[in-house]
């Protein structure tokens, strides 16, 4: 039975991504239609202008993200939404945002690939495509909600980390999470604290009294933000640069900046770890899941326990950086890790295997239709 019924609304995951973004202070959205992400675009178009923000259509996904990055450079929180084919077009600009340390959030609602694939079919096949989209192999933080409330909260959190780290952050859904509608009790949404973008004080931070756009003292520090168009001159560039934003080739300071782009994320990886954990004493199997399969896994867990058998379950909400500590801390007594994914290769499993090479790790993999709880149960010892 539901409680607090006066706050129950019907929502899809897509709608809740949009609402989470608004709650986080998103003021700019540029979109391009694509199934199964169009619901986010539509909700932002319906809601953002009424809240004093800008929501508009772009002529393609390249422009959509570039408009968002431009708006963010000007000082506004910005988001776009897409699916695999649109993501393919956006990767150039994701990298630009990373290199220019520009906060931006991208909601990525997966569908069946490759290429235009199956627009209305579910898949979790873009996990590595999203994470490994940069030349140089930088970490793109990725959050993976499995239900509408998580869509809201994790989108909000994506904005928080994007602002804190000045880097692009992805909220990755799949079609089932994005397009399934259900009852959402707003009382279940946690109190959330929204960050304003940290702006630099008027005084200079650079060596000669200037403000260096990318100034940091230690490589893991995040430069304070200076908006393009404000009273302090900015020097923004997507090419290799020093702290002042000047193009330089292989100077020690330029290399320091390149290391810094990763170190600022590594230094915060522990704080970014987020999982929902349901560990049972004496369980020998741990199911690790994310997105829609987390719900399937949860049902599998319910059935297993109903049969008086033991099993532990972990819903990974921060897919990248990999929540290594929280995973490791869940392994007491575990002899087998089962990772269900709606892709055929076991994409996240391949990442987990490199971290826990002493573990017996098996996948439950399928494309074209949803993995069932019983298919997961079959792999649980």
């Amino acid at each position: 039975m539901t409680d607090f019924l006066s706050n129950v609304r019907i929502r899809s995951g897509n709608q809740m991504v949009a609402e989470g973004a608004l709650r986080a202070g998103c003021k700019f959205f540029a979109g391009y239609p694509i199934t199964p992400a169009s619901g986010i675009y539509k909700t932002m178009i319906d809601m953002l202008p009424g809240k004093g923000g800008v929501a508009l259509s772009a002529p393609d996904e390249i422009s959509a993200l570039a408009y968002c990055v431009g708006a963010s450079l000007r000082g506004q929180k910005a988001m776009t939404a897409t699916s695999g084919p649109g993501w393919a077009l956006m990767t150039e600009t994701v990298q630009y945002a990373l290199m220019t340390e520009t906060p931006v959030v991208i909601a990525m609602v997966q569908r069946l690939g490759p290429s235009t694939g199956g627009a209305t079919q579910n898949a979790q096949g873009d996990v590595l495509l999203v994470e490994n989209c940069t030349s140089g192999g930088y970490t793109i933080p990725v959050f993976t909600p499995s239900n509408p409330v998580e869509c809201y909260e994790l989108t909000h959190l994506a904005f928080t980390w994007s602002e804190l780290l000045r880097t692009p952050v992805v909220v990755m859904l799949d079609k089932e999470v994005g397009m399934t509608s259900e009852d959402v009790d707003y009382m279940r949404i946690h109190d959330l604290t929204t960050l304003s973008r940290q702006r630099i004080a008027q005084s200079g931070n650079g060596s000669n009294g200037n403000v260096d756009t990318y100034y940091f003292e230690h490589p893991e520090d995040v430069p304070s933000f200076v908006p393009v168009g404000g009273k302090i001159k900015t020097t923004v560039t997507g090419s290799a640069h020093n702290k002042a934003g000047r193009l330089q080739k292989n100077s020690p300071e330029t290399l320091e900046v390149l290391y810094h782009l990763q170190k600022k994320i590594d230094a915060n990886a522990n704080q970014m770890e987020l999982v929902k954990r349901d560990v049972e004493d004496g369980a020998r199997t741990l199911i690790v899941s994310y997105g829609i399969t987390a719900r399937t896994a949860r049902e599998a867990v319910r059935r297993i326990r109903k049969n008086a058998e033991k099993v532990s379950w972990l819903n990974v909400l921060s897919l990248f950086p990999v929540p290594e500590n929280k995973l490791r801390n869940s392994l007491h007594g575990i002899e087998r890790i089962v990772i269900p994914e709606e892709n055929f290769g076991g994409q996240y499993r391949s990442v987990i295997e490199t971290l826990f090479d002493d573990q017996d790790i098996v996948g439950v993999n399928k494309i074209g239709s949803m993995i069932t709880p019983d298919e997961i149960i079959a792999e649980v010892v």
Binding site: T2, K27, P59, V228
Partner: protein, 453 residues
């Protein structure tokens, strides 16, 4: 006296361009244009592209500079200006500078910026080729010109970016030679123009255009003539409104209030469901026949009865033709798994729906317990479950067959309280709803459901 700006260039600036390069002329004229306008440096934002001209950002002092990816300079500039114009009370002027290569790869960004009429000035430095990467031809290379990638001479007609901009309703369009002494004045007018402006500057690349292609000053002028490309200010319209002004004026506050109210509609628990275990309901029919709407009514009724419920829909990539399938799961507790392993209730209203749930395997997952309400016109064989054929289409009409069939299912099997679903039908179909409800009563065979309970 406010500060006078004689130049915005770095003190003792050294240009990185080859001797005789058109870029040097263009940048000097841009600086002069800024000096004409006398803006505070932080009120200027120079967005640069990739290629030799992309080195421009380091030549200026005090102004904002944003060095971007190839061809995307206009899009980033548009994003900055959209946020600036609509969300900030400032008067930032964004100038995008790129080459003919950048304009080629980023053509759609220029097109959209012109259509929007956003306050961005795009300067295209056209030297007919890609200089930085070795003199390859671009979409702007004139006929017959020899470049490193057109050794026999170019056979593709050159792009006319000014015509493109003009056809996209650009408010200000000009084309000049890099050596034109009026260039600074033209650029100043373009930057000052309240909306999208494009200036194409015709240049020589001394390394490849001259040495390879034989394009000197005289040849450049001849080639412009041969291309029928007029010089001077080609468009200076006063009839377009700048985008941010238009955007802000277009906001219909009342419309957004209505949307907000609709969006914030909450469902109160007004009924009590006696559902004992999770139920999976499938409605299969034809697109455009209110299949998904009917399921949405069930979803609302379920939640108003205190249940947790999910709904997902499937249709072909076209929205209004072919099959339409909807799945609703109802439970007293939270629904974890959103798929239907074996359906409890199936309503099939058309052949489109029947074909699809046969093809996707759903029908084969019916069990002996499944109740199927099937339109009388359909031929259904070899399916497990208790099948009841009903004249759904005939009784309710094609686009009410789904809601009617679902109504029979709800009324007969009691998956949600009958009142709850009837209220949803009346809310949606008003007066007609009462008729639908009375037909539902007529078609509901209590005996069939009690036997199969």
């Amino acid at each position: 006296m406010p500060q006078q700006y004689e130049t915005y260039l770095v003190d003792g600036v050294k240009f990185p361009f080859c001797k005789g390069c058109g870029h040097t002329h263009s940048v000097r004229h841009l600086d002069k244009a800024l000096a004409i306008l006398q803006r505070d440096p932080t009120g200027i934002n120079l967005v640069s592209d990739i290629g030799c001209i992309g080195l421009v950002d380091a030549l200026f002092s005090g102004i904002h500079t944003v060095h971007t990816t190839h061809g995307r300079s206009t899009a980033f500039g548009v994003g900055i200006e959209l946020a600036d114009g609509i969300l900030h009370d400032s008067d930032l002027k964004t100038i995008v500078i790129l080459g003919d290569g950048g304009a080629t790869i980023g053509l759609l960004h220029i097109v959209h910026a012109a259509l929007l009429n956003v306050d961005v000035t795009v300067i295209v430095c056209n030297n007919y080729l890609y200089g930085m990467t070795g003199g390859q031809h671009s979409a702007f290379t004139p006929y017959d010109m020899v470049t490193t990638t057109t050794p026999s001479g170019n056979i593709i007609p050159p792009m006319d970016i000014c015509s493109v901009a003009q056809s996209c309703e650009a408010g200000f369009v000009a084309r000049t030679l890099a050596t034109d002494k009026n260039l600074a004045g033209v650029l100043a007018k373009a930057i000052e123009y309240p909306g999208f402006a494009l200036v194409e500057i015709m240049e020589i690349c001394p390394e490849y255009g001259l040495k390879h292609g034989g394009i000197d000053g005289k040849k450049l002028k001849e080639s412009i003539k041969e291309q029928n490309k007029p010089l001077g200010i080609l468009v200076n319209r006063q009839d377009r409104t700048e985008f941010s002004v238009q955007y802000n004026n277009s906001i219909d506050t009342e419309a957004y209030e209505r949307l907000k109210k609709k969006n914030e509609f909450t469902i109160k628990k007004e009924y009590t469901s006696s559902l004992e275990r999770q139920a999976g309901v499938v409605i299969a029919g034809t697109a455009g026949e209110r299949v998904q709407l009917s399921s949405y009514l069930l979803l609302n009724a379920a939640i108003a009865s205190g249940l947790h419920a999910t709904q997902k829909n499937d249709n072909p990539v076209t929205q209004g033709s072919g099959f339409s399938i909807s799945e609703v799961i109802l439970n007293q507790d939270e629904v974890y798994y959103t798929g239907i392993e074996s359906p409890d209730y199936v309503v099939i209203t058309s052949n489109d729906g029947l074909r699809e749930i046969t093809a996707n395997g759903l029908l084969s997952r019916c069990t002996d317990e499944t109740i199927l309400l099937v339109d009388a016109s359909l031929n259904i064989e070899g399916v497990k479950g208790r099948i009841k054929k009903l004249p759904l289409r005939k009784t309710f009409g094609a686009d009410r067959a789904a809601v009617g069939g679902l109504g029979v299912c709800v009324g007969g099997a009691g998956i949600v309280p009958r009142d709850a679903f009837e209220r949803e039908i009346e809310k949606r179909f008003r007066e007609e709803g009462k008729k639908i409800i009375s037909k539902i009563y007529e078609l509901t065979d209590a005996k069939f459901f009690s036997e199969n309970a």
